[in-house]
């Protein structure tokens, strides 16, 4: 514990800006991944343990696309879409067969998929880790200096892009027919099915959207994180923490929880650098014990 340093940081504007922007960036990238996870759980009721693998695939697809086209934009789009397509295949080919099974079987199918994808990635891209994509040309500029703090413009872009995605997701859910059906399906699948709506299509669509978000998160994160097989491991655990804290199925909850986790990481690194991980699991425990539906989840009836 370094509480003195922690207090000092809270009263120091440069430190506040430093850690807030950094924490927001970590949090928003995490949100992209976690929102997909929580969406899939909310609608399909499936804990997609393999979600981190789509994050990884997004990164690898983006890497290859960048190598071929030299366009960062195309790379990110390819990463997201590629993960989305694999998501549909995974849902149709595997997950849809175990909707009726117990959670254990669903979990093991997901775990099998993790094992297979981690090895496939090695077969295709090799066992060496790959470099990050690097920020696109426009952002390779000297950082901004704000009140004594250093802020890379690229981080502002990442935060902005993620917030835009969050807004878009909210619009889709609140305003479109698809969003209404999805919300209805989350609450009462029989009803939606009875209304003659093709739930198969809805489920596949939701899974694709969820995977796409993970892929997008992976592709954007790959701009500054090295890429390797197994990189989905840590992100999926963090996404679970976010999902649980925010309320399983709640996108708004995931948004708030992701920011909380991001800030906890950045400020925790100053206040209690050695126990940030353990702390996160403790918060998860507390939420599960005191408010299992999470901060924003609906209480079970």
């Amino acid at each position: 514990m370094e509480l003195a340093a922690f207090g000092e940081c809270l009263t120091n504007s440069s430190c506040l800006i430093f850690q807030t922007v950094g924490g927001l960036k970590i949090g928003m990238l995490l949100f992209l991944v976690a929102s997909g996870l929580t969406l899939i759980f909310g609608v399909l009721g499936v804990i997609n343990f393999a979600h981190g693998s789509f994050y990884m695939l997004g990164a690898y697809f983006a890497y290859t696309t960048l190598a071929v086209t030299d366009s960062f934009t195309l790379a990110v789009i390819a990463g997201a879409l590629g993960a989305g397509v694999v998501g549909i295949l995974f849902e149709r080919g595997f997950i849809s067969r175990v909707y009726q099974s117990n959670v254990l079987v669903q979990l093991l199918v997901c775990y099998a998929f993790i094992l297979i994808l981690d090895d496939l990635v090695i077969l295709i891209w090799g066992e060496e880790f790959l470099s990050s994509l690097g920020a696109p040309e426009v952002f390779r500029v000297p950082p901004l200096f704000v009140a004594g703090a250093v802020v890379p413009p690229f981080h502002l872009f990442l935060i902005g892009a993620s917030i835009a995605v969050a807004l878009g997701l909210w619009l889709i859910m609140a305003r479109t027919r698809f969003g209404k059906i999805v919300r209805a399906a989350a609450q009462n699948p029989q009803m939606v099915s009875a209304l003659g709506i093709n739930t198969t299509l809805i489920y596949a669509g939701v899974f694709a959207l969820g995977s796409l978000l993970a892929g997008l998160g992976g592709a954007l994160a790959a701009s500054e994180r090295s890429i390797s097989s197994g990189m989905g491991f840590s992100i999926v655990i963090e996404s679970f923490i976010v999902t649980v804290i925010g309320g399983m199925g709640s996108i708004a909850g995931a948004f708030v929880a992701a920011i909380l986790i991001g800030l906890a990481r950045s400020f925790g690194a100053i206040g209690f650098p050695l126990f940030t991980d353990g702390l996160m699991f403790m918060v998860m425990c507390l939420v599960l014990i005191l408010r299992p539906q999470g901060l924003f989840g609906r209480a079970e009836s």
Partner: protein, 330 residues
């Protein structure tokens, strides 16, 4: 008059022990012996988890916490100043200490976890396991952190049993696994065990029969955790140490695999699963480094193809056949 259940089970257990002993003598292959030892260890681990999953219907994700707790308590005790090469009482006492310690841990964690329902229970067990994992990594002066308990420990001879001797270790693991299995078999076939099935099927109804649901869940959680720690102790004896990886969540996935592979409806299903898992691991690892690919495919085959564990599948076949012949006779 048929022989009563417990006696029949004990005779069966004794028979298995004799068979395993014969196997040791007849098949002179350390590779095979090692697979049997690990199957024994993981049978205890998987059977104990199946008490929760198969009989009680609680999907616990954090079972490795107790495996690791057993291994660390035992390992730390054996490395402590109280134990020397001639402390004949050390190993039996260490086993007991590890199991009691893990029981206390399971009692505390269980009391909290069973308050949560369904998937929240699973997440909570996972979270506690990860807290333990973080704690093991952080407590470097005691646990050695990420390097585990280094430097080994003595294995003092007790009751003529020298666990440094391969054959003794083999028989010891086999005997303990069989005893643990017999205990668990007795539990699931007892009135208590039928309550577990009722809680799995319909906990609300069970409450209206006057059964305190949480009490039975808690007792089973503690029992399962205690037995899992025995598996951890044996693993610690085998590897002469203890490692933080054993408290990581991926370790909890291993007995889940075994239960899936072997089946959760048949009592011995997880044992079969443990055996398949160990053979698969040993054989595949020896031939390819794409172990994940193979294991993943096997899991998908069981989860999507057979849709049940091998033990359940065989049991289904046998009982179908029996039923068919019964009908033919009639």
């Amino acid at each position: 008059m048929r022989r009563s259940g417990p006696i029949r089970d004990m005779i069966f257990g004794l028979g298995v022990f004799v068979l395993l002993a014969l196997l040791y003598v007849l098949v002179d292959d350390a590779f095979v012996h090692d697979i049997i030892i690990k199957t024994c260890i993981f049978s205890i681990f998987a059977l104990s988890l199946n008490l929760l999953i198969g009989y009680l219907g609680l999907v616990a994700f954090g079972h490795a916490a107790f495996f690791a707790a057993g291994a660390y308590v035992f390992g730390l005790f054996m490395q402590s100043e109280y134990v020397g090469p001639d402390s004949a009482w050390a190993i039996p006492f260490g086993v007991l200490l590890a199991m009691v310690g893990s029981a206390v841990l399971a009692a505390a964690i269980g009391a909290i976890c069973i308050r949560a329902k369904a998937i929240y229970f699973s997440f909570l067990t996972l979270a506690f396991q990860m807290i333990l994992y973080s704690a093991i990594l952080a407590a470097v002066p005691i646990t050695g952190g990420d390097q585990g308990l280094m430097g080994g420990f003595p294995k003092p001879v007790f009751l003529g049993i020298d666990l440094a001797e391969a054959s003794h270790m083999y028989m010891f693991c086999a005997a303990l696994a069989i005893i643990a299995a017999l205990i668990m078999r007795q539990v699931v076939e007892s009135p208590f065990g039928y309550v577990l099935r009722m809680l799995r099927d319909n906990p609300d109804r069970a409450a209206f029969l006057g059964l305190k649901v949480k009490l039975y869940q808690w007792i089973t959680f503690v029992l399962a955790g205690t037995l899992a720690s025995l598996a951890g102790v044996l693993q610690s004896l085998l590897d002469i140490g203890a490692f933080p990886e054993w408290a990581f969540w991926a370790k909890s996935a291993e007995p889940l695999f075994m239960i899936l592979l072997g089946g959760m409806q048949t009592f011995l299903g997880p044992v079969l699963g443990a055996f398949i898992f160990e053979v698969l691991n040993a054989v595949v690892t020896a031939h390819t480094r794409y172990y994940g690919l193979v294991l993943g495919a096997v899991i998908l085959f069981f989860a999507l193809g057979l849709r049940r564990g091998l033990g359940d599948y065989i049991w289904q076949l046998v009982s179908d056949r029996r039923e068919a012949s019964g009908r033919a006779d009639a």
